[in-house]
Subunit: 346 residues, 4 copies
Amino acid sequence: MSETSRPGFMSDYMEGAHPAILQRLAETNMVQAAGYGLDAFSERARAKIRAACAAPGAEIHFLTGGTQTNMTVISAMLRPYQGVVAAETGHIALHEAGAIERGGHKVLALPAADGKLTVDAVAACLSAYADDENRDHMVMPGMVYVTHPTEYGTLYTQEELTAISDVCRAHGVPLFLDGARLAYALSCRANDVTLEDIARLTDAFYIGGTKCGALIGEAVVFPTPGTVPHFFSIVKQCGALLAKGRLLGIQFDTLFTDGLYERCGAHAIAAADRIRAALREHGYRFAWETPTNQIFLALTPAERERLEQHVQIDFWEKISDETTVMRIATSWATRAEDVDRLIAAL
Amino acid sequence: MSETSRPGFMSDYMEGAHPAILQRLAETNMVQAAGYGLDAFSERARAKIRAACAAPGAEIHFLTGGTQTNMTVISAMLRPYQGVVAAETGHIALHEAGAIERGGHKVLALPAADGKLTVDAVAACLSAYADDENRDHMVMPGMVYVTHPTEYGTLYTQEELTAISDVCRAHGVPLFLDGARLAYALSCRANDVTLEDIARLTDAFYIGGTKCGALIGEAVVFPTPGTVPHFFSIVKQCGALLAKGRLLGIQFDTLFTDGLYERCGAHAIAAADRIRAALREHGYRFAWETPTNQIFLALTPAERERLEQHVQIDFWEKISDETTVMRIATSWATRAEDVDRLIAAL
Amino acid sequence: MSETSRPGFMSDYMEGAHPAILQRLAETNMVQAAGYGLDAFSERARAKIRAACAAPGAEIHFLTGGTQTNMTVISAMLRPYQGVVAAETGHIALHEAGAIERGGHKVLALPAADGKLTVDAVAACLSAYADDENRDHMVMPGMVYVTHPTEYGTLYTQEELTAISDVCRAHGVPLFLDGARLAYALSCRANDVTLEDIARLTDAFYIGGTKCGALIGEAVVFPTPGTVPHFFSIVKQCGALLAKGRLLGIQFDTLFTDGLYERCGAHAIAAADRIRAALREHGYRFAWETPTNQIFLALTPAERERLEQHVQIDFWEKISDETTVMRIATSWATRAEDVDRLIAAL
Amino acid sequence: MSETSRPGFMSDYMEGAHPAILQRLAETNMVQAAGYGLDAFSERARAKIRAACAAPGAEIHFLTGGTQTNMTVISAMLRPYQGVVAAETGHIALHEAGAIERGGHKVLALPAADGKLTVDAVAACLSAYADDENRDHMVMPGMVYVTHPTEYGTLYTQEELTAISDVCRAHGVPLFLDGARLAYALSCRANDVTLEDIARLTDAFYIGGTKCGALIGEAVVFPTPGTVPHFFSIVKQCGALLAKGRLLGIQFDTLFTDGLYERCGAHAIAAADRIRAALREHGYRFAWETPTNQIFLALTPAERERLEQHVQIDFWEKISDETTVMRIATSWATRAEDVDRLIAAL
């Protein structure tokens, strides 16, 4: 059921939460719990995430949304004179309304390939700073930021992520991975980057909840304890600390019980794979290839009109009068009958 | 049921949400809705709040917590060289970990009486700035901030709030009211400040949800449209915009249906009144008088020990070896049997 | 005389100040004057600048350096959610160590042609924002920044500057001109942009002193009074207010007496023209053409070595193993014998 | 000579610079020097200051004014969630237009005694934070700031400064001393705090030039090398780096040659002592006692009028209809005949 009558493939945050989460919220509703993430639910969620990451000493904090998490982690880890390296198509570079700059930091945007930073671009950027005679007049790259999956629905390979991590470590620059849609990577056949890999290769990352089955919530993981002293105060100062931290703890506890997080992802990927196969069969052009829950089509005006008569899809960008890129997104909530309807419309 | 066996009167954010909210979240869970607060639930909530405030043109935005709301509204309404006037005991002055300063603004703290700014102190502060020959070297007071109820559980009278509002308007300085616990004022016999009054007397205020029956959520109201251009972008930049804005819209829609918000408040006040009466009867000393859901006791070590054997209450401050101020807080969730147990312990 | 024995063409800020300035500082040294730019010297300087700009109502403030001036003016004129559009080669984009971002603002860098923003790029940027459905999640362009002369020694034509100004005004976006080296434009035959034009076409600009004959100092001009209320306090808050504002007032008073500012520029341009002619005659390659006091050469290793044996010139960038761009800068202080020596070395 | 005919005792920054400085600027004017403080003059000045402080490894940077120096050093040494402890009468607390807050930091103002922080107040503040259960919701004191002489013309004793330093070190909190008027302390009989003491007892301090004989300039000293990595970039980012750093280097080189800095101070103290003696003799009331170049009088309207007929003095504050505090300031530039005239007016 949609606010309009056409099923929506606009994004992966159009419904509420996985029913198991609502049920758990109801069951625990009248339990009194400590505030600010110090409750037992949050502790249980942390323990399960540590286990899933094979990072027994990891420090874990729960925040409410992606932009908030990015701005909090990035300003916590940078010194004031440092900036963060990102793909020019990265969320922090384009779609966070200047949240990183509000914290005083420049986004050092590099050209991207299908949403991904290349190891060569990262290495060149870090070396160029190190080698520049005028570097003391410039913004020092103090962190590298990647998204996995990217905003373009693409994935880093383990080899690529390892190479970027190696370059970062060689320069003493921390690597931060934005996993707003991480469930859709983890459940994807094409993905060879596990949670353990991420915990091993990065200095900070977050496991997205909002787009992956939760009402809201992102779990920040610092694999190495002590990475950011006083992070609790920083979260508070950034307006990112919930009095009812239980709301986040209960959700992540549920998502990391019995593999729910991966199941949420797998549901979306299965739907996306069905749609991709049908699109290919009907000769639709992909703007670029993706293995995850987001599909990007290069549509003619006629194709777009036909599709939009039956389903809601997302405008991405207009390339020419003849071609518009449109996005189809599935999620943990996508219904089989809506996928059928979309396929029938092709 | 508590995480410990003793019933907790530690605060008003120890449980989840009013059951009507959970039920509504469940009912609407699979409805697809637009993101970022542009959904129909949020629109309905806005309409109901406008009606409750008798402010038909009011602009309303939903945020997730008190510190976040304060930092967002304050930095949106101040120019960079301005500061915000607050009671030295105000939340923004003490317990927001520097969130206001992170936005670049000084909190101009004034002495408070039982948590309240006095009109005289406000008038003196604004006049002193206006009259100071060196004012251009000083932080200009650009906003006045009050809480209602205050952090000390006290209330402004309509007369007091009107006087402060008049001073502010005479100086062209906006007045902002933090209503994190507003339900507990509105439902309180001693209160003569209505939502309509607040909308009339202030330039911005927020209606607290987190401490008043919601899982999370605060509703920012600008009674006059156009008060802060581009507030949506400011919210985004502050990391305060939820992708699933529906979570807030559904909750406020429910709270403002059939008087639930006031009923949440009334429940807490009734419990607090019972406790107050019993305390008075048993000769306990109040640190200061309050008519709302927070009770502040000046306890001897023996009294404190006796109470804490049976219930959990909140440490506020140590005045001397002989006297400690402890807080008892009730809420929409307080159970009659827990109040009984507390009273029995006296 | 140089700290080394080779004459230096490294930059235009290697000497002290034009002797007329030192003399005037000595003459006025024991006169008592009000602090913070409220002195009579500063007032006289303001009057002369207003006259030179044909902007009788202009508000004028004196600051000490270019980065400071850029950060102060830009953060004074932008709202927190806005960014500043600049050439990707602009000083604020590259060489201010993140000063703009420290004030909370993104530099929206556009591709540049020989250091210049094109009107097409500016128009496209402003329109793209206005047309983007997601613009509320993005940084709003709130100002356009140009340098004249640019960091590449090039000049805007009056036609180009008018076109950019027109686009800005059509979008309601102020235009700010960084004139750190303005004297070297004003005295240049190729230049058709007068001070009056700049005052007419921009919303704020500064007249550079540090690189144009003063010890230090930049004169910020707001042609329209009331452009930035409380700019004095903003300057103070940015740490940019001198107690001894007289130091700046006296210098600009001197620079704007009897055409000294233009004479400083003309001296440098005459020297640069002599050098350019000799270079051309000897077949040197220019990296790009410039009519101002900065000359950019594309040198082979042998050419570079030969030149550097006799004079000091500035490394700009390495293009290939075969070609390095080197800069020669003249100034108000360039001595004829040093120019002779440079030319002899060719 | 004054802009008005009455000699001015308004402040210590009413004239230009000590003639020896102007002379040295003239002598070196056409020497070419490297920019940004990397010149040989600055290096010589640093060497002399290191010697004067008996701190051979000290790192020294030259900035242009007091507010700028405070904001740069404080934001360089604090982490974002930290604030700076200061007397409520301290310059950073009152008269810097929010420069510290613009950098994101709260000024934690403590009650002061005649402009001085007491060791008890500092110890209580640092302990209170350490002991507060809610400290993670509060601003952490991350630095202690003192002025010497204070804004009230008073001095810390070596014993007091040592005690404050000890408390700071016990809490791991750096101590920063603002020496805007340091010359007037060093040359004062009552002072027992030497430059060596300051270098030993603090983690950062600055030696004021602007008010002590220079045109402009403050020398920041970090006694321990490596205290603030990348301070050069921080200075640049704060808009505090002069292209012509030579201007500051030459001045401090001159001030620290042949004891000029102390002589500037001694001149002012001698004048102030003459005035103090005369005032005492004539029965004037001191608002509070000071041994430095600033004298604070509690004047009746008649006394004030009489004095102001003959000399210009500075309004400080109005205590009652009967009493106004006025300030008399002497400086390195105070002329004997003006002192005579002031004394005659008594």
